[in-house]
Structures are given as C-alpha cells and as structure tokens.
C-alpha cells in the first residue's frame, strides 16, 4: 500500500459521492438517486443535471424516500438515498429496517455530514450514533471511507454488490491518503502499517489522525500496526484477530464510543479473551456548534490522545 506522502491536498468525502455517482449513473441506467431536498449539499447536483430520469426528489420526507427507494429496488433499480447521516440513519431508521433490510432489497443509503464534521451546525446535525444504529440491522453493510479516493472505490463496490449498504461521508475536507489506483474490498481492512507493539484500528476521518500518531510513535521506537477499518459491518474479524498477538489495541472513530467501530472490535477481543483495548471516540455526549477540529479535541479524538493511550497500554 502506498500512503501519499504529500498528504496536503484535502477533499470532503461527500465530493467523492458526487463524482462517483455520476460515473455509476453513466454506465448503469438502473442507478437512481433519491434526494430529500439536500441534493446540493450532498453533491448530487451533477447527477441531477445529467440523469434527470434516474433522479427523484421526495422533498423533506425521509420516511417516504426510504419507502420509494425500496419500491424502486423491487423492480431492479439500484437507488442511492442521499441525505445527512443524522436523518438517513434515524428519521428513516424503521423504514430502512422494515422495507430495506427485512426484505433485503438493493438500496444504498449514502449520507453526508457524518460524525462531528458538520461542526458549526451544532449537535442536532452531528451524527454520532448512525453507524451503531445501522450495524444493528441484519443484512446491512456499514462503511465509511477515510478519504476521497477510498470513498469513491467503496461506493463503486457498494453499487456492485447486492444488498443494503449504509455509506457515510464527511462534510468537511479531509486529507487525501490514498492514491487513485488503490483498491478496496468491502469487509476487508486496509493495512497501512505493520508493527509489533501497538495495533491501531481507525476508520473514516480519523484514519488521518491514526497515521500521524503512528508516525510519531514510530519515531519514538514504538512499532505500530495500523488498519483502516472502512467497513464496520461485516467487520474484518480476521484482521482484528491478527492484532491479538500484539495484544494492545486502540480504536479511533468519529462516532460515539458506544456501538461503533470500538464496540465491534471489543466484541471480537472479548470473545477471544485476549488483549487489551482502548477506545477513542465521541464520549457518549452530544456535540455543539464549534469547529470540527475543536469538537474532536473535546472528545479526545486527537493525535496526542492516541499516543497517550498507546503509551499507557505499553506501560500496563
């Protein structure tokens, strides 16, 4: 794997959705977008312009949007519902359960504004529990890419597989990590580093923090294994088990520490009865209006905290 060293260029992963959905719509007329009056900010505007006959806007009616997507899917369409993560996972949660997951229909839920990224919008708009909710539904796949290119690849993979997928994007720009040719497989962790002292498992917009923490730890002689766990369901259980010999594991996520990546990894570790875990994530509290980076800091989702947790595990 090749981590782009010139990691200065930044792009929001919602832009990856906007670009990839156009590419998909071009080659497959069954690809539909169901918008819920936030097309512009979810980046579906190019798709709307190019493929009006593959586009539906249901207005501010999330529940109906999910049901319509399910109905479309029964006829062989591949609808992508596009909205904000907080609404896509909660306002239509029961509809996704009943009409998408229960009948296992080929509907994708593509959500921008994941985690704390809609910082200034405040706590009402920060989706901190979405992946946990989605992870609870049988048949659902739950994904958050770490950067623009990986997100595009994962969207393409999601379109190519049959079944419900929840995809979560950032509102804010995050550094480019991967180069364009990198490949990704749903349900398979991406190993960014191999190491022997500490294993860090991160996903989404926190992967960049984990990369930086790992680099600093290495400089201090700590050997770090680093995984980008873009798919939290199905979790790459083997990849987690491969960390058990190291025994000191840190998870990092822009999500509540309950029910997200940290919990999924904890389940594997607890069942194995081996290893120690430190979870970094939103501290089971609602957010507030603030810059995204500030909100991360309040919750300890920082390079410094990853390093501190690593050092603590190493001295245990």
């Amino acid at each position: 794997m090749s981590v782009t060293k010139k990691a200065v260029e930044k792009k929001a992963t919602r832009a990856a959705f906007g670009d990839e959905i156009v590419r998909l719509g071009e080659s497959n007329k069954d690809i539909y977008v169901v918008d819920i009056d936030i097309g512009k900010s979810c980046k579906t505007d190019k798709f709307i312009e190019k493929f009006p006959m593959q586009h539906i806007n249901v207005g501010i009616a999330e529940q109906n949007g999910a049901g319509i997507a399910a109905g479309l899917a029964t006829t062989g369409k591949i609808p992508f519902i596009s909205t904000y993560a907080v609404f896509g996972s909660l306002r239509m949660a029961e509809q996704i359960r009943q009409e998408v997951c229960y009948p296992n229909l080929n509907v994708k839920i593509a959500c921008s504004h994941g985690g704390l990224t809609p910082g200034n919008d405040g706590g009402s708009h920060q989706a901190i529990e979405d992946m946990g909710v989605m992870r609870s539904f049988p048949n659902m796949t739950v994904i958050m890419g770490a950067d623009y290119h990986s997100t595009r690849k994962l969207i393409a993979e999601a379109a190519a597989m049959y079944g419900p997928v929840y995809l979560r994007f950032t509102r804010d720009a995050v550094p480019m990590i991967y180069d364009e040719n990198e490949t990704f497989e749903i349900g398979k962790a991406k190993q960014l580093r191999d190491g022997a002292d500490i294993a860090i498992i991160a996903n989404g917009d926190t992967v960049r923090l984990a990369i930086e923490a790992a680099e600093q730890l290495e400089q201090n002689g700590v050997s770090v294994k680093l995984l980008d766990m873009h798919t939290i369901k199905p979790l790459d259980v083997d990849a987690v088990k491969d960390c058990l010999d190291i025994g000191r594991i840190i998870t990092v996520e822009d999500h509540n520490i309950l029910n997200g990546l940290g919990s999924a990894v904890a389940e594997v570790i607890a069942e194995a009865g081996k290893g120690q875990l430190a979870r970094i994530g939103v501290q089971d509290r609602f957010g507030e209006s603030a810059p995204y980076e500030k909100l991360l800091e309040i919750n300890g989702i920082t390079v410094e905290n990853i390093i501190a947790k690593a050092n603590k595990l190493l001295t245990n």
Binding site: I68, T75, E99, P103
Partner: protein
C-alpha cells in the same frame, strides 16, 4: 423442523394443482360479478379458517377487504401465478399488512400457492408469515406489517413503471386507521408530484382500528376530500358492492390523466360474520371452535355480500 418441507410443499402443490374453477384457460376480464362474489365468500372462509387454525391473526380487517381483493385477483390484476416475479405484472401492496390472511387466501385460490399450504399461517417455517414477506411467499410484491410504509413502496414501484414505460399498474390497500400515519401523506404528495396514474389506492374505510372507532382514537375526517385536496382523483364506493367495485375499476381507475387514483371503500370490519361486524374486539382475535363453526356457517349461508 418445518423450514424446508413447507416451502417445497407450496411449490409442489402449485404445479400439481388443478384449475379449481374448471375453466381451463383463465379469462380474467370475463369473471362475472357473480363469480367474484362467490370467490369473495371463499376468500373469507379461507382467511377465517387460517386464523382459526393458527389461533392467531386478524379476521376483522381481512373480512372488510375481501371484496376488493376478490375483484383485484380474479378480474383486474394482470398477474401470472406460474411466474410470480414476471416483471410486467401488476403489483399489489397490502400496506395494511396485518390482514395478510385475505391476501394469502387469494394467492391460494388464484394458484400462486396450494390451497392446503396456507393453513400453516404463522407457523415456524411457513411462507405465510404473520405479515406478508416477499422473501418467503410467492406473489407478495413487498413485505409489509409496519403501518404507513407500504404506500411509499407502491409509489416507488409506480415511478419505476412510468420511467421504464411499462404498462403495469400498482394497486395498494391502506387502512383508514393507517392513514393517521404521516408517511401516508408523504407518499400521497409524491404520487401526485410524479403524476402516477398507474397507481390505484384503496382505502379500506371500515371506521375501526385497534383501540376503537377511528373517530374516537384520532378522527380522519373525510378521507375522500383529503385525498382529493392532495391532488388525487378520488371516488367513494360501497366496498362490499361487487357491482360498484367492478364498475369503478373498469372506468374511474383506468383514466390515464396524469393523476393517481384513490377509491375510498366504505366497508364493515368483520363483514360476513355477524358477531364480528363492527366490533373492534375482532381486529386481532382468533375465533374458538364454536365461533369458528358459526362463522363458516354464516359465510356459507352467503350473508349478502
């Protein structure tokens, strides 16, 4: 232990089943009003028997829906029991999914599944789940059970038909109580926006829900006017008059004028079984042996439907 055998059984009977109507080729549009009334009686008997056998299920709303279901399955809908997933078929969405027994009865009488198999209703391994399950039961176009959601799915199917320039139509049935769900009105808005004249919605206006009369639980006011105000072509009929149902399907429902159709059907919950009629208590209660025998006797006696 039932899991596989039951499913196999269903398909086996499907292929072995003789045409119970003895007509050989099925000429749907020629099914007479008299025959449709007879079928409705059969559907009612089968549904009540299913609920009795299972000692669980929803007889009241099954009985109120029976006449419309009979007209749809035996005259109106272009479906193929031998190819339930045929892509050009008309769709039926039972948004009030708890009355699955009446749809299962129609699927059996129409030859999608065997007549015997439906009595496994609500048993482990049965295709006939408590609420319609498209993964388990042939002829179910979408799984339902959570009220307020099915109509949105019907809208999605109708949009797909329109975009693909297909001729199929989508029929949906909602309960009157179900219309208290906000999502119903979201779906209605979308149906009007997208000019879905391939969508026909029946409201089973039986005036009852679980906790009593809709009027007391949460008044719906005039549903005909409400659908009309939202932009549907709307009409109101006696949902137990086969003549009116057929007439409405033949004329009103066939207009290609860019407007979705709503048929408010005034019905009686429990219709055809005297002691169940207009009784909220029979919404989701199974009859005991005596009650069951009386029900069948009354239905066979052909209380005017």
């Amino acid at each position: 232990m039932f899991s596989t055998p039951l499913v196999i059984q269903v398909y086996k009977y499907m292929s072995l089943q003789e045409d119970h109507l003895g007509t050989g080729v099925w000429h749907m549009q020629q099914t007479s009003v008299e025959q449709l009334k007879q079928h409705a009686i059969e559907l009612r008997k089968t549904a009540v028997t299913m609920v009795y056998e299972a000692q669980s299920g929803h007889p009241g709303g099954s009985l109120s829906a029976a006449d419309v279901i009979s007209a749809l399955y035996f005259r109106e809908m272009n479906v193929d029991p031998a190819n339930p997933k045929w892509e050009d078929r008309d769709r039926f969405v039972l948004s009030k999914g708890h009355v699955a027994p009446i749809q299962y009865a129609a699927l059996a009488l129409r030859g999608f599944v065997s007549n015997e198999s439906v009595y496994t209703l609500r048993q482990y391994g049965s295709p006939f789940q408590g609420h319609p399950d498209m993964k388990k039961c042939p002829g179910i176009d979408i799984s339902t059970g959570s009220l307020g959601q099915g109509l949105s799915c019907a809208v999605g199917m109708a949009i797909a038909g329109q975009r693909d320039e297909k001729d199929y139509r989508v029929f949906a049935m909602v309960g009157d109580g179900e219309c208290q769900e906000g999502q119903i009105w979201e779906a209605i808005q979308a149906a009007v926006k997208y000019k879905l004249d391939n969508l026909i919605v029946f409201v089973d206006n039986n005036r009852l829900q679980i906790d009593g009369f809709c009027e007391d639980v949460m008044p719906l006011l005039d549903l005909e006017k409400k659908f009309d105000a939202f932009g549907f072509d709307t009409t109101r009929i006696d949902g137990h008059s086969m003549e009116q149902i057929v007439e409405t399907l033949d004329t009103f429902a066939k207009q290609k004028n860019g407007k979705p159709k709503c048929i408010v059907c005034d019905t009686v919950k429990g219709k055809g079984v005297s002691y169940m009629e207009d009784q909220a208590a029979w919404h989701g209660t199974a009859p005991n042996k005596e009650e069951f025998e009386l029900a069948i006797k009354e239905l066979e006696g052909g209380l005017p439907v």
